[in-house]
Symmetry: C2
Subunit: 340 residues, 2 copies
């Protein structure tokens, strides 16, 4: 394995074959661990690979065989720890199978999402895990079907024709509302945030249904700004209404963090002056004091499940579309008390 040998041009399977005195075809069989080749030949070829510092060229192989070993993942926002945990679950499962994940950030914008999907098609990905940008047209699902590209939707969905993995947001809302109601709360606000998409809608609807089923007023819905810093300073929005809520359910962990800080700034004690329930329960919420009672949706698990579903879909493209809805759990900590 002289310097020149490796530097001049890439070591190819043909080089290996020559070095081991076999044909390119045989070397290829060794590479793919075929039982056809004799054990003596096999070890000779393997030795040659080591001697020459051979590196398998997946790209070349893919040209022949329809499998790129690449999976795409498109999320609307990378800096949101919730999506980071999701990705971590995806990468974990995909990585175990020897495949590789292409990461892309749509910025929650439909045009950028279209560009990214196109780019992934050009790279010949085996499939894509997509958290659709807000305001994605349902027609996208037909395009995807036309392309014949295996896709799994996560967290948000635009179509029932495509596999979907998410959490049972409605059940989560019910858990939160029931718990607050059991403490005696009647004036419960929902602190929303972000763009309108299916997950948003499901949470809002879930909140309304849960409130109605307890015969409570579901009308206190307040929309907070996007940036974490701005949420805290917009806390007063909670108190600008005729009916002042005694408890607040947050849309996600960002709102929970923001309000937790904002309420502190207002001089209010969470759990006494106002009860607060978070949603999503990412790791950082551990650090909030008082500890936040929160509905956990398990982003890492959802990522893992989405990855597994995609692998199954790739293996068997003719399966009917499936929906996997992860259970939510209410973690009761310290941020809720009886109304004053």
């Amino acid at each position: 394995m002289s310097f020149d040998e490796r530097k001049k041009t890439r070591v190819t399977l043909l080089d290996v074959a020559r070095h081991a005195n076999v044909s390119r075809a045989t070397a290829s069989l060794v590479l793919r661990k075929s039982p056809l080749v004799g054990s003596e030949t096999r070890s000779r070829v393997e030795q040659a690979m080591r001697d020459l510092g051979y590196v398998y060229n997946i790209g070349a192989a893919r040209l022949r065989v329809e499998r790129s070993q690449i999976i795409g993942a498109i999320v609307p926002n990378l800096t949101n720890p919730f999506f980071a945990e999701l990705l971590s679950g995806i990468e974990e499962v995909i990585g175990e199978t020897g495949k590789v994940v292409i990461l892309a950030n749509s910025g929650d914008r439909v045009e950028r999402q279209a560009t990214l999907l196109q780019r992934m098609r050009e790279h010949g990905v085996d499939g894509v895990i997509l958290c659709p940008a807000a305001r994605t047209e349902p027609a996208l699902s037909e395009e995807i079907a036309d392309w014949g590209m295996p896709v799994v939707q996560v967290l948000r969905h635009i179509s029932f024709d495509i596999d979907y993995v998410g959490a049972d947001y409605a059940a989560g809302m019910r858990q939160a509302v029931d718990y607050l109601a059991s403490l005696g709360h009647a004036k419960i606000a929902f602190a929303a945030h972000g763009s309108v998409q299916s997950a948003y809608q499901e949470r809002v609807d879930g909140f309304r249904d849960a409130m109605l089923s307890k015969a409570l007023d579901p009308g206190i819905l307040i929309h907070f700004p996007t940036q974490l810093g701005e949420i805290a300073s917009a806390t007063h929005l909670l108190f600008d209404r005729a009916t002042r809520p005694t408890a607040v359910i947050c849309f996600n962990h960002l709102v929970a963090l923001g309000l937790s800080a904002g309420l502190h700034d207002c001089g209010l004690t969470i759990g006494r002056d106002l009860s607060l329930i978070g949603f999503d329960d990412v790791a950082d919420e551990e650090a909030i004091r008082p500890k936040l009672t929160s509905v956990s949706t398990g982003p890492v698990t959802i990522g893992e499940m989405a990855a597994r579903l995609l692998l199954e879909r790739i293996a068997n493209p003719d399966l009917p579309p499936r929906r996997v809805v992860n259970d939510t759990t209410l973690h009761i900590r310290q941020s809720c008390g009886r109304p004053m």
Copy 2:
């Protein structure tokens, strides 16, 4: 563009060429926007591409041309928001150039990192942004040189022969120590955490040097557990020593979050009973109360700079190795006061 036409086999450049009555070569020229082809021909070919729903096959092109348009990124931990922000910066810059990022998580383990590097070589990445796992052998840099693979180290470094982008941890420590000293603190602890690697060492050394240059005792170094939840409950470690610190500088934002919660649990008021300075300053720190005074290292910026450096390195492999060290800034908020 009948259903069959697209479904049966992939539409290839040859199909496009035939449909537009030109040769494959001409179609290829159109694809690459060569000025050689006549405008009438060009638009005919472009129309044909649209008619047939042609998708460029980067994989096939790569076989001929030495450019995969794929960049690798290897980080030790995806769920840490610090790395998520780093990735976001990387993806942003790489994405703008039309390239794509392969994401991988080494789990801070050397063997896994080796597997991932190998996998990326097989995928023919144009280059890799690597945050080396703890205890990576410096010899890895020679292997990388042998491979001829463009690599940029981020945040941590194992060799001076490879480009590096990081933050000026030592200066950050100096800013923190100087500030605390100016408030009158003398007994300042350093709350460390995580695996030992270059960034760890630089922070610890930076702390020591800064303390010594103020003629203060640099010996109060306390190591905290890895998990966020465990950090809070290990807060007492701060007070187990003969000399009780009046201020604490945290290794990173995780320690800052953990201690912030832990001190609250101990019934101590941050900024009055004990001063706390964070490090890294990721977005979530906005939500801590009292607001955390913190040294910002700018992970998004570092990611962007690393991506740009890698692109330059790819364009010009013979450049001498470079080191880019981002300035840190001390954001003074509310978590520090005069010692009691």
